[in-house]
Symmetry: C4
Subunit: 379 residues, 4 copies
């Protein structure tokens, strides 16, 4: 007699376990269109910089917008806790490994200054850039009016896991349908990873969903909590929710895969898995213009008693423009991300990201087991 099954376990996949299959037709990469739309806004590249202190500050947000993408300023990070965040950033970059977690715990325990929220938003807006800012669900009711008043363009409501229904005795959870009506701007919400959670979020009327729990380079949620879904599966499940929601509502709500990217190939795979755009941290923290000074750390909202973020040294490689558009002399896929996306689309014979959603992917062993093993053994 077969053992009765207590629980079904689906197999899930991360970036390193899949590969894109070339198409039956090929197209000239120059003809591909990689626009990404969030309600009224159109970005010419489907890349958003993370709301993390090592990645996005005012200047970085202005530069990303000029280059056709978007950067999200974290309103609960160092930028709104310190008049002069550069000092703190350089302290973090210089701290020895052994002291870094207590230091992060200390600098993030400083209170948020509400006046800095408006100042940062206005500094970005003044340049003509599109301004996106992020807050945690818990603080949304408090900060959203300030954000609206300062005329930010896009609000991102983000925590490790955000659902449409939060249960608490001590406070009333955030109701996205109410928030949607109360402020006059597109709202992106995340993160989530499952079909149902994503579908419920879309039904509240929000403008886009961030996808990804536990995959980031500086995040240890899977080790500490055991929670997380590898990004290809998370993206495919949320893409299925997007299609279902389009069927039932007629409205197309984009999904943005957030976290775990290490090279151009990962971006291509996320788009092939159904993402409309990607949110990137570590790779952009390597830009000369990144505020992290060659380091990257943590999650946007460190938990004081249960930290799940570490500082990693990513180094500073080249200007942001070169990371996004090349040219490059490196062959590891960490530069010319947009060139990689367009070339992959050409090889797959697709002209738009929505067509890219239909290309075939396979479960494939990580490349280290095939061609690369020679390389490794010969050095």
């Amino acid at each position: 007699m077969a053992t009765p099954q207590f629980k079904q376990l689906r197999r899930s996949y991360g970036f390193d376990e899949v590969a894109i299959v070339p198409g039956d037709v090929t197209v000239n990469p120059d003809q591909t269109n990689i626009d990404f739309k969030i309600e009224g806004f159109t970005l010419s590249i489907p890349v958003i910089a993370s709301a993390m202190d090592a990645v996005t500050d005012v200047n970085f947000a202005i530069l990303m917008s000029k280059l056709g993408g978007l950067a999200v300023l974290n309103l609960e990070g160092l930028q709104t806790r310190y008049d002069n965040p550069q000092e703190i950033l350089s302290e973090i970059a210089q701290a020895p490994d052994a002291e870094i977690t207590p230091l992060l715990q200390k600098v993030y325990s400083q209170p948020i200054k509400e006046n800095l929220i408006g100042e940062r938003i206005q500094a970005i807006k003044k340049s003509g850039a599109v301004c996106a800012v992020s807050v945690a669900p818990t603080n949304t009711k408090r900060f959203a009016p300030i954000v609206a008043e300062a005329q930010a363009d896009i609000l991102v409501v983000q925590s490790t896991v955000t659902s449409a229904r939060h249960i608490s005795k001590s406070y009333r959870g955030l109701i996205f349908s109410e928030l949607r009506k109360s402020i006059p701007m597109p709202i992106l919400v995340g993160n989530c990873v499952s079909y149902n959670a994503c579908l419920e979020l879309m039904r509240t009327g929000i403008s886009g969903v961030l996808v990804g729990v536990g995959p980031g380079a500086a995040c240890t949620t899977r080790e500490v909590l055991g929670v997380g879904v590898p990004q290809i599966t998370a993206t495919m499940d949320c893409a299925a929710a997007r299609e279902e929601y389009r069927r039932e509502s007629g409205r197309y709500v984009p999904i943005i895969t957030d976290g775990g990217f290490r090279k151009g190939g990962d971006l291509c795979k996320a788009l092939a898995a159904g993402a409309d755009a990607v949110m990137i941290g570590s790779i952009l923290a390597q830009a000369k213009e990144a505020p992290g000074l060659g380091y990257h750390w943590g999650m946007s909202h460190p938990h004081p008693a249960l930290p799940r973020g570490t500082r990693i040294k990513v180094g500073t490689t080249s200007p942001l423009q070169q990371i996004l558009f090349g040219p490059t002399s490196v062959t590891d896929g960490s530069q010319n991300l947009i060139g990689a996306v367009r070339t992959a689309m050409g090889i797959c014979g697709v002209l738009t990201i929505q067509e890219m959603h239909k290309v075939e992917m396979m479960v494939a062993p990580a490349i280290t087991t095939e061609g690369k093993s020679w390389q490794l053994s010969s050095h």
Copy 2:
């Protein structure tokens, strides 16, 4: 023609191969209830310290009970073979690697002093703590009356693999249904890993089942004997037996996943796989109060001619209270285990451990293949 199949092999899963999927709803972690009940006793945290000499002595048992958990004193280890076990413990901690297996074989060949059984139990009871003690099935008939007389609270009958039916010509196997009637206390039995073995044990009337063969950090059963089932599969199969037994008897017999835990995420996964509580060795051996002095070794019952336990250095990290409840500055999941459990439950939107049994899990590649590989390569 397809090859006829001699034997079907099911795929099994260990902690590192699965991940928990966040829920459609989220709850405030403070509202979660993680009580664990064994017949008359209710623990406020579902954590039991292993019956191993590096983990549990009288003082550690008292402390665990105060903190809401339980620790099991091994009545066939050093504590009942030596009037002053501290001496031996420190000898073990100081021995060089090359001499450790013979040393362990020597110190465990000293006879058990029956008078020490009562003394240890009374020392624990005097403090007001719940007192749990363990014996091997072979010695149960001999020691159970002493345990009962000394008024221990809970008896654990434990060996590498314990079944409801043991066949031997030279002695009559232990009959759990008889034992149950003869002594007036809850009995936990283990270890087992399969549906049928677990179901048969429950039908004898015992109070709880320990789950796990071969997964512990200091155990080499899988290498030496080829026997063992990875803990997620073992837990799910025994949870299926518990549900079947509840259907047929109306009685809920908890299962306790024992062994192989290395971080908070593993605890969360065991509970999601169906465990009512967890039994932990290595992680607790790192506590400042642990008798192992930074080391951990062996199985509770070393086989003189076929040893399957090794001594490993686990180090001493922090007080037990901090390991269980934080706060912590480490981000590897080895501290604030209870915070991790509650946070994971919050993310999954469940209020009790029995609800946690219903959350979705996925087969997922170990995190090192995704986000962590960057980290590894950048140091």
Copy 3:
């Protein structure tokens, strides 16, 4: 309710993940016939040297032809950009690692001299060897007449991914059916990896298909673009297309697995997966006669702004004859490739490569997990 599936992912396999099952009958290896036919030409061994500058120059092409195989001269590499390519080859071999990618970008940006095309072809032809040359699809219209005039025997049209239909606004894609009629020689086209793409190529009337995207030792396409299919799956899918095309047309169009080979066992597996021949780079770059001087690099067509090839040190091991036919004293499968193919065929009980297509293969763990782990641990 099960999560709706956004996309199906097939499992794919590379060389290291499969093994060939011995046959029910065995044959004497001396009786095996390993001829490979491309239209009018018959090679006595099914091995083609890659169109890469580290592998094939005029002398190497002559030698391969003498030994019964074939080598393809890349008409867009160093051989047609420099009157004296040896100088550049030795510069590449001597450059330090840090300077290699810019150096490769520089030397490959020199223009192609059309007069050298004819010179190289005639040098090969003069020796009596079969002369095969390769061009990229983009340059085929321009170079094909020159190739035809110089009376090369076989034209290879090759790029990372080549399809029967290429879409571009700026130029009219190459039409293979037209090319086929315009030049009087067999045409091999590639690379492709999927059933449909391969079938469409065969329907244009071409003479053979090169199979493989992303698996080569010196290629990082999978990292940079996320695109690629492991070679066993790619070969099996294209073999299925060959069989379908034979059914519909009566014509047998051979497929040649190109890239990712590291040892004799890999050749045997490619043939068992359905290949009619193999195209090899790295292994042959180790020959004493190889122009790469112990190094191997890149793809045949480096992309200036998005390079996907690296230089690897392969070393120089022995004369080409010994790599192909032995005898050998090494036991890692890198020498006596033809002996390995014949011995494997003998063990499988097959007399021809077409019979080899029918042998059983299994998905098997890489050998390092079984016998070899001892070896590794004992040194």
Copy 4:
């Protein structure tokens, strides 16, 4: 449309990928019976020493027989090429790594002296031991009469892959049914790995089948030829053939899993997969009495132009008796193999090896991914 499938690939399993599930009943290990029968002979332990020069010489064969097992003397190795093989053995043990393959090629190219065949057999017989000897199929017609005349007890006909039907133009293949009639002793034949090949061999009337191609520690067949089946799958498939042959003939022909064993757990798994006995090389080469002097090499029949065997240092650990029966102080499963088998049988609740064939096994990740990773990281 789904891609038509060119070939089906079954998943296969090696020792490290499976684990034995404990039984619902347990038995006292002392009560287990592990007899192994080959026609008229009964061994008290199911262990056969390999026909390899580093493992079996006359003295080792005598000792194995005394201890209840069997050792097979290779009649085509050093023992029959040299009057004084010890000299050569010590030369092999002392050669530097770089010179070992040419040295092995040289010493094995010395001709076989037919008079030594009789001498070695008689030396074994004189001691009262059971005498088993091996020859390759090619040499069987020539040597079998000598073996019969010298009154060896068991003949082993063994090559990398042996089938019931061998096709050659240059010689007439060995017909086992004829051999069976011509010599008056049990015949073991191998190696094979598949259901059909094994079934065909059994139908020739031979007495037992050796199972295993490519898994041995000193064998590189899988790398060089791509041929091989992991041992658990090979054993299960041949066990299925044994059952089918029993159904059709009423005769029980035992199968012996040969190669790839590294520890006691592997023996237990082979028996659980359906083996009646095991043939062991590397582990026994570690015995103080082994002729290899701490080294182990090659296959029994080195191919001069395509070697697939390497010399590995296994070290000398302890007397054979201790390796087989303990006691031991090591915990890695390399000693007390018989104790491990009996203990595993006890845990599985089975009394005989034929009952052991029915225990459940699971596909399980190698233990390094679970408990052991801690151990590794803490040293």
